[in-house]
């Protein structure tokens, strides 16, 4: 096969291809090693990490809807220390980028975590989750207020030299404004979207289908909204955009790239077809061939807008 240049640059990271697996849908990576060679991915983002362990939300935590799933995992994770001790060593032998997704309950915690991760070898970048809809205090407010997001990012920026990606919430009136704010705050890239706050009701029990009542909607159902948001953000920011939301295959990924995403993340699709990431990489190559180009860069933001 021909040689394709799929490399993209996000902050200081050169990814061998634009395909990243998203936080919370790829476990700690090892769960996927039986299905394909993780080294083929552009980057891996493990489950989001907090300063202290979090036990997560009560079950049921997941519910399927038309073309999507609502989850209320509640950011269950072993916390910084356990992660470094028990999970990080696994990535040592991998030849792909490791991006750490994390979140805090306060600005202080965000800064503290950024500082700590900064000194850990083997980490390429940080993705801060200012947008998780599943925790009731903290987190969520940063993700919906441009001022707070700006200040938070500015502070985190000072605490790390690693590539800093800010993951945006779609639950806002003006996502472009949010993106602009975090860009000004010093983010190297934005990633979007996180999940949409959503719920479902069991009409027989008259109870919510999720233990936490409200969860986050992901999957193909949200793709059209996510795509619009990436496009809007692309109109105003100069930093790279990592697009996601319902990407199930290469065609979906290419849509995101055409509207301006430099890289993309695979989320829910990992749960259904663990090989999605690898299949997307192959599909992108095929598309490049069909388009008689060998550089992915040429496609980024290449949407043709009718006159």
């Amino acid at each position: 096969m021909q040689d394709y240049d799929l490399t993209v640059k996000i902050g200081n990271m050169i990814l061998k291809n634009p395909v990243i697996v998203s936080s919370g849908t790829f476990g700690f990576g090892e769960e996927f090693e039986d299905f394909f060679n993780l080294n083929d991915l552009g980057a891996i983002i493990p489950k989001g990490i907090s300063l202290r362990p979090m036990m997560g939300n009560p079950p049921p935590r997941i519910f399927e809807t038309e073309g999507g799933i609502i989850n209320s995992i509640g950011l269950q994770n072993p916390g910084f220390q356990e992660f470094i001790k028990n999970k990080l060593p696994y990535y040592r032998n991998l030849k792909t980028h490791l991006i750490i997704n994390f979140f805090g309950k306060s600005q202080k915690e965000y800064i503290e975590l950024a500082r700590r991760f900064d000194s850990v070898p083997g980490i390429s970048g940080l993705e801060i989750n200012i947008s998780c809809p599943n925790i009731k205090r903290g987190g969520i407010v940063f993700g919906t207020d441009p001022q707070m997001a700006y200040r938070l990012v500015q502070a985190v920026r000072k605490s790390t030299k690693l590539t800093l990606i800010v993951k945006l919430s779609p639950n806002v009136t003006d996502i472009a404004l949010m993106a602009k704010s975090v860009e000004e705050g010093g983010a190297d890239a934005v990633s979007l979207v996180n999940t949409f706050r959503a719920m479902a009701v069991n009409i027989h029990t008259k109870k919510p289908e999720l233990g936490n009542m409200i969860g986050g909607l992901s999957g193909p159902a949200i793709k059209p909204i996510a795509l619009r948001m990436v496009w809007e953000v692309n109109q105003v920011v100069h930093i790279p955009i990592i697009g996601m939301g319902g990407i199930m295959n290469a065609e979906d990924a290419i849509e995101f790239i055409l509207v301006g995403a430099s890289a993309i993340q695979i989320g829910t699709a990992n749960l259904i077809n663990p090989r999605t990431g690898i299949e997307v990489i192959h599909g992108i190559k095929k598309y490049l061939a069909q388009n008689k180009t060998n550089r992915i860069q040429k496609l980024i933001g290449a949407l043709l807008i009718s006159p």
Binding site: F26, E31, D34, F35, G56, I62, G67, L271, I272, P274
Partner: protein, 271 residues
């Protein structure tokens, strides 16, 4: 080691009321799968339903199996309850289906020399995962308690008859066996079990059944392994969607798919 692979539907048909058996030719999984483990099946090519569905394996035959017409086959006994299982009933012979498996930890068999001391308790479709366990324990004497809402929900009786089993049946409406729950039936037979011997209980069924069982088997001489069912996102440990609360000191919410589906019943915290 779980793997993702295609299988070929070899048969699919109703056995009674809402229950069906799906046969799939899938040597890589049929070779490996152990009692209590399960597979994640993509019941349809399209996105409706979106997620895979978890199923125990009712029977499986490795390629080393002597009968040529069984080599590499696995069978799923399923109940039509919703969107996914409804679509499953339309799968046709010759169709491809995608599977991930074997998944989960499976049952721990009783320590070797023991015999006559395995108790299987299954409610509804839960009996299915005990059926392959029954086969693994074939040589020993089994006490098998099968429960269901009505006689239509009593499954696998013929299978257990082939093993060396003592079968007890309970239905909630009394249409077959004793009227009442399978747990009450088990309790009523408790005098059969000697106080000074260890018994290995294997249970699978709805939470209500397992919870009731947990309330009753707090005796030193019963070791109870329970196979749980929760809604699953992935089935292979990636999403933390399937958790159950346990008495684990650090991580109370354990994954049913990866840390289970078989747990020590006493470790489960019922809420």
């Amino acid at each position: 080691m779980p793997l993702q692979t295609d299988g070929i539907v070899v048969s699919n048909g109703r056995i009674k009321s809402l229950y069906f058996i799906l046969g799939i030719y899938c040597p890589p999984i049929a070779n490996q799968i152990k009692p209590g483990q399960f597979v994640m099946l993509k019941v349809s090519d399209d996105r409706s339903p979106l997620l895979r569905r978890p199923f125990s394996v009712y029977k499986s035959y490795p390629v080393s199996h002597p009968e040529k017409r069984k080599k590499g086959y696995l069978f799923i006994l399923y109940k039509k309850v919703g969107k996914g299982t409804r679509k499953m009933t339309t799968l046709k012979k010759g169709q491809k289906v995608n599977l991930i498996g074997p998944l989960g930890n499976g049952f721990t068999l009783p320590p070797l020399p023991s015999s006559d001391n395995s108790i299987l308790i299954g409610g509804g479709v839960g009996i299915v995962s005990l059926c392959s366990l029954g086969k693994a324990l074939e040589s020993r004497k089994l006490f098998v308690f099968i429960g269901g809402k009505t006689q239509d929900d009593i499954l696998c009786v013929e299978d257990f008859k082939k093993f060396n089993s003592n079968i007890f049946i309970a239905t909630e409406d009394g249409s077959l066996g004793v009227k009442g729950t399978v747990v009450n039936l088990f309790l009523s037979q408790r005098k059969k079990f000697k106080k000074n011997e260890k018994y290995y209980i294997y249970a699978c069924g709805p939470s209500a059944m397992l919870k009731a069982l947990a309330g009753t088997v707090k005796f030193q001489n019963f070791m109870c392994q329970a196979s749980l069912e929760t809604r699953m996102g992935c089935g292979f440990g990636a999403c933390w969607g399937c958790v159950v609360k346990t008495n684990h000191p650090k991580t109370p919410y354990q994954r049913v798919c990866k840390d289970g589906p078989v747990f020590r019943l006493e470790d489960i915290v019922w809420e």
